[in-house]
Amino acid sequence: MIGRIANQDFSLFGLWPSHEQDIMLRAAILNGEPALAAFHEWLGLIDLDQDFDPATFRLLPLLYGNLRKLGVTHPIMGRLKGVYRLTWYKNHKLFDSMRPVLAALVHAGIRTMLLKGAPLVLKHYSNHALRPMTDIDVLVPAAYAPRAIDVLKSLGWRPFDDPSPDAFKYRHALMLSSADNREIDIHWHCPIEFAGSGNDDFLWSSARPLDFNGVATLAPDPTRHLIVTILHGLRWNSEPPIRWIPDAMILLRTSGGDIAWDEFVGFARDQQLTCRLHLGLSYLQNRFDVPIPEGVLAELQRVRTSVIERIENTVVLRDIRPLYLRPAGNLWIIFSNYCRYARGAGPVEFLVGFSHYLRFRMQLRGRLEIPRVIARGLWKRLLAFIGIWQAGQTGRRTEEDRTNSSKQTGIRRLFGRPIFLTRSR
């Protein structure tokens, strides 16, 4: 599985950009003639009267910024400039509305670090118009997460999910929304792969100061920011998450000299994430000629991919929609998430922990319910198969029966509802 993906030509849709997106990325990111050539090729591929896919749409301001720099004059530039203006307006509005929230957290004595878009906009793009954002991601120390959520609740924010002790234990973040539909993600572990690992010092230890509209906060240093950007972006999604590519590029362009590549490789090795980070860097080098120091890619490739990463990548680096159609597939997704969560645990601790984790993901009250739920699912499935078999034997299969037994709807219809359909957030 891993080798197959790693050796592919970056073509798995949902993990890598589509052809149109790839051409558009080149027009938005590259310099000089290659960008101009890509822009003209892209114009031939698109139909302005049709909707852009959301990922492409989010890159239009960056495309405008690059084309403007290159002196392009084309009728489409007016509309692209409009998207640029709109992004500029919305981001300023978002930042302004989030300022009191961040100030309240700081006032409550909670250390904060901005993740993802906000530090990129302020420190690296250095422009509010180039990267659209819809929310703000704030990292707080894990021990302060419940208090941070209380502070936000006191300001009128509503948590998207129940911030239970289990949630703080097993999840990495919680989304909250305001009455005017603004969103904020409070993270207590970052990246998501660190949930349960106790490695939270990873980001805090080297954080850099950041002024967020007058509020003193922190931002990840470029090395860790690059790692988080690749890990967050390089995950299969039905809408290819291509924004990580320009984000990584801007980090490398503005802070390339500050990237501690030995730390990058050391992190990948220690956290068993060499495969994904190698894939991400390989992509940037192959498609955008990013200068990665000699030896970094070789070293990442040299490290043997761990069992945990292999299991994790069966979910992260492939189209997982088929897995969601089957109870066993859902169980596999949960198991792979748990493998990352519980890495380093001994065999007994691993097994016991999994039962707790399963209970949490299946939203059950106690672990004793797990066998009952599984048995009920198997029983229903058995009955369904018997029913189908009997119908086939007696020749009384109706058109409806045949539809029911078809592969497209089979398991979902037979079970009524999938029992393991608790999707990882």
């Binding site: 302005l48 852009f52 239009l60 509309r79 400039k81 409009g82 203006r85 500029w88 300023h92 422009n127």
Partner: protein, 160 residues
């Protein structure tokens, strides 16, 4: 010598100059403003903390217009900026910088045509934010809606 100067009401006012157009946002009101050409040039001079006399002098060096026309139209532009709470006026000590400074850098070989600086103000942002910035707009792009959309009564683009 006491001179007049306008100062941008930061941090509640943010702006950016994009291709000869200044876009300005008042974070307090949420209003969005834009000014093209001379309006953007004058805004850049305000950002550089040039006094009113300096701005008038620079304008007369760069553009083909009478001193009276420049004074009158710039005053109207400054008044709009003040009315929209984008700038505030302060008095500054100015030992006649407007004459002493070397403005050759601002002087083109031939003077440009002067057009009265105007500030477009958009107040109905709720509606404008709902526009699809590709399909609901004209060639000039957001926030100017397509002609067949501009007739909607809830969308107000106040120009002055």
């Amino acid at each position: 010598m006491i001179n007049r100067q306008f100062i941008i009401n930061a941090p509640s006012v943010v702006s950016e100059i994009i291709d000869g157009e200044v876009v300005i946002m008042n974070l307090k009101s949420g209003n969005y403003h834009s000014s093209l050409g001379i309006g953007a040039v004058v805004w850049a001079w305000i950002e550089e903390r040039k006094s009113v006399r300096e701005i008038e002098r620079l304008t007369s060096l760069r553009y083909d217009a009478s001193a009276e026309e420049i004074t009158v139209t710039l005053k109207a532009y400054f008044d709009r900026l003040v009315d929209e709470d984008l700038v505030r006026e302060v008095a500054v000590e100015d030992p006649d910088r407007a004459n002493a400074q070397d403005y050759n850098a601002y002087t083109p070989p031939t003077k440009e045509r002067y057009e009265t600086p105007e500030l477009c103000t958009y107040t109905d942002m709720q509606d404008l934010l709902l526009l699809d910035p590709i399909h609901d707009v004209g060639d000039a792009g957001w926030p100017k809606p397509r002609d067949d959309k501009s007739a909607e009564p809830s969308r107000a683009a106040k120009e002055g």
